[in-house]
């Protein structure tokens, strides 16, 4: 049985996903070139604010819970220096954010397990991308190719997001 607290009351903190998020964002904050070395403070603070939004008694704030931690991640990644370790932590922080997103205390426990197929696809892609970056040689040309591919990917995502019916396939 899996009862969820009524609205307007405090919800339990899900420790596993929060710990994973704190660990990765703090790691990224440490490795990023955030001004004054404040990355290790800003990112965990943002994660805790997000946790408060979700687990606190203010139901109206819960939908905005991902915003603080996502903003902190954006800032950290924007200032981060080029390094394989930083790249790895950036990707890991993205996956940890997805795990934390799936572990909503307003919903039944076990969200990350149920979301495993959804999180596994980006994780796999991330693994391929990071190992390619690590093992393949790079130069100015690949950056140009990557830019062109990026424009194509953004256009494809824009089409998909604009037309969710594309996923609507009637089973035979």
């Amino acid at each position: 049985m899996n009862a969820v607290p009524r609205g307007g009351t405090r919800k339990p903190v899900r420790p596993f996903s929060l710990a994973l998020l704190l660990l990765t964002v703090t790691g990224l904050g440490y490795l990023s070139g955030f001004p004054g070395g404040a990355g290790v403070v800003v990112a965990p603070a943002a994660a805790l604010v997000s946790m408060l939004f979700r687990s606190g008694p203010w139901d109206e704030l819960a939908p905005y819970a991902p915003v603080p931690v996502l903003l902190a991640l954006l800032l950290e990644a924007a200032f981060a220096p080029v390094d394989f370790g930083t790249e790895f932590f950036a990707g890991l922080a993205g996956v940890a954010f997805l795990v934390w997103l799936a572990d909503d205390p307003a919903r039944p426990a076990g969200g990350p397990l149920r979301a495993f197929p959804t999180i596994a696809i980006p994780s796999l892609a991330l693994g391929v991308a990071w190992s390619s970056a690590l093992f393949l040689p790079a130069g100015a040309l690949p950056i140009g190719v990557a830019g062109a591919l990026l424009v194509f990917a953004i256009a494809a995502v824009a089409i998909l997001v604009g037309r969710p019916a594309l996923f609507d396939r009637e089973e035979a």
């Binding site: 954006l74 922080a93 997103l101 990350p112 980006p122 990071w130 830019g147 953004i154 969710p164 089973e171």
Partner: protein, 429 residues
């Protein structure tokens, strides 16, 4: 129309956040020639796509079972939502809306398992009411909250009626007589207890002569004859749905109380096999002809549910003429009217003139007006006393035509039931 186009896949509020963030990160990565934002963007960009691919390919169907319990003013709704195979019950979001006639601040309690979602919610009816509890909205949502899709169900809304408990024993009141229906030809076969009325299920104490053997053989279960002297008679319930000077809000409130009382009265009298008819008079008369049995109960409940206040008032003469068309004179008639209008608009004298013995039950607007008042407590007390005097005078004027019961304590109709139990007064009315 395809079910999927009726309940399409929708992006949740997180989806645009993820996509916009990832697009910003990727642009920043290209501009600064820094791959780090790109690595953060990758999972955020792919998650919505993966969620869309993982989502059910058509609207998931669910079975919703609901029961309503509680007595008196309490309404306890319990339910269970069972999804089709392949859908995890923990991914369902159930939304139970509180009907407008009920109160209660506590949100519903949900319990999830992989195969079902159970919910429980307690409401209270501040006064007698009849409300439709809508079927809960069920939405499938992926664990990330990125995509969602409305589920389909074949459940029907539940009708909840709450009326004063005294009405449950009103059926024992002996009504004046049973009249023939329009076009009905009375049987010449007079039994030991009067004229033949119908057939009912046999009871253990029925003598063999009372058993209808032919009907029993046809039905395969013991049936007995029933005679008219055993019946309590006929009753007509007339709802006054005309607007009053109190305004639509108070009118609607009073009408809702009157509708609940009409349901209570009809159920009680139908339970003792009386024939019950219903009239709803707004601009015109909507009538449910006299009949008895479970089907009639459904007919009356349906008509009361659909009954709405008229926007235009109609002359009482029109009501009396229309009633005469649907019901034979002599039927005991209970009028449910707020008696707020002037005396000229009373239905009672017109109906009495056409031979209908009338009793008026009048839900009082005073408790509703007091609840909305913004006066100071002293002024409120004074205003309340004045309004009570005016109301008493109005009821007294109504008594000149027929017995009128002032119904002010909405959860009690003891005065009315006691009145109906006094045959002499009823005949005088």
């Amino acid at each position: 129309m395809r079910a999927s186009s009726k309940h399409p896949l929708r992006w949740g509020p997180v989806a645009p956040l993820l996509v916009l963030s990832s697009v910003a990160l990727m642009l920043w990565a290209v501009v600064t020639r820094n791959p780090v934002p790109l690595f953060l963007a990758l999972p955020l960009l792919l998650a919505p796509i993966a969620s869309g691919v993982e989502a059910p390919r058509r609207p998931p169907s669910v079975v919703i079972e609901e029961t309503v319990g509680g007595g008196g003013a309490e309404v306890q709704l319990r339910g269970v939502v069972r999804p089709e195979t392949g859908i995890d019950g923990r991914d369902l979001r159930v939304q139970v809306d509180r009907p407008s006639g009920l109160v209660g601040a506590t949100p519903p309690m949900f319990t999830w398992t992989p195969t079902e979602v159970r919910f429980a919610v307690d409401w209270r009816a501040p006064e007698p009411t009849i409300v439709d509890i809508r079927v809960p909205a069920v939405v499938w949502q992926d664990p990330l909250g990125v995509v969602e899709r409305e589920a389909t169900s074949t459940a029907e809304p539940i009708v909840v009626t709450r009326y004063p408990p005294e009405l449950l024993r009103i059926g024992t009141v002996r009504l004046e007589r049973t009249t023939a229906l329009p076009g009905e030809t009375r049987s010449h076969r007079v039994g030991e207890s009067g004229e033949f009325h119908g057939i009912r299920a046999a009871r253990p104490d029925d003598p063999p002569r009372r058993i209808n053997w032919r009907a029993s053989a046809r039905a395969g279960r013991p049936l007995a004859n029933e005679y008219e002297l055993e019946k309590t008679g006929d009753i007509l319930i007339l709802l006054d749905a005309r607007p009053t000077p109190l305004g639509p809000e108070v009118d609607e409130h009073l009408f809702s109380i009157a509708r609940a009382a009409a349901i209570g009265l009809s159920e009680s009298f139908l339970a003792v096999k009386a024939r019950v008819g219903l009239g709803v008079f707004g601009e015109f008369l909507d009538a449910v002809p006299l009949s008895t049995g479970r089907t009639q109960r459904v007919r009356i409940e349906d008509a009361v549910r659909k009954a709405r206040l008229a926007s235009v008032s109609a002359p009482p003469e029109r009501c009396a003429v229309a009633v005469r068309r649907h019901f034979l004179p002599g039927i005991t008639t209970i009028i449910l009217s707020s008696l707020v209008d002037e005396t000229w608009s009373d239905l009672t004298p017109y109906l009495r003139r056409r031979g209908y013995p009338v009793v008026v039950v009048s839900p009082s607007p005073l408790p509703l007006l007091a609840a909305r008042s913004q006066l100071s407590p002293e002024d409120e007390q004074l205003a309340g006393r004045l309004l009570h005097l005016i109301r008493r005078a109005r009821i007294a004027r109504a008594w000149e035509d027929a017995p009128a019961i002032d119904w002010e304590t909405f959860w009690s109709l003891g005065n009315f039931v006691d009145f109906l139990r006094r045959p002499r007064t009823r005949r005088a009315g």
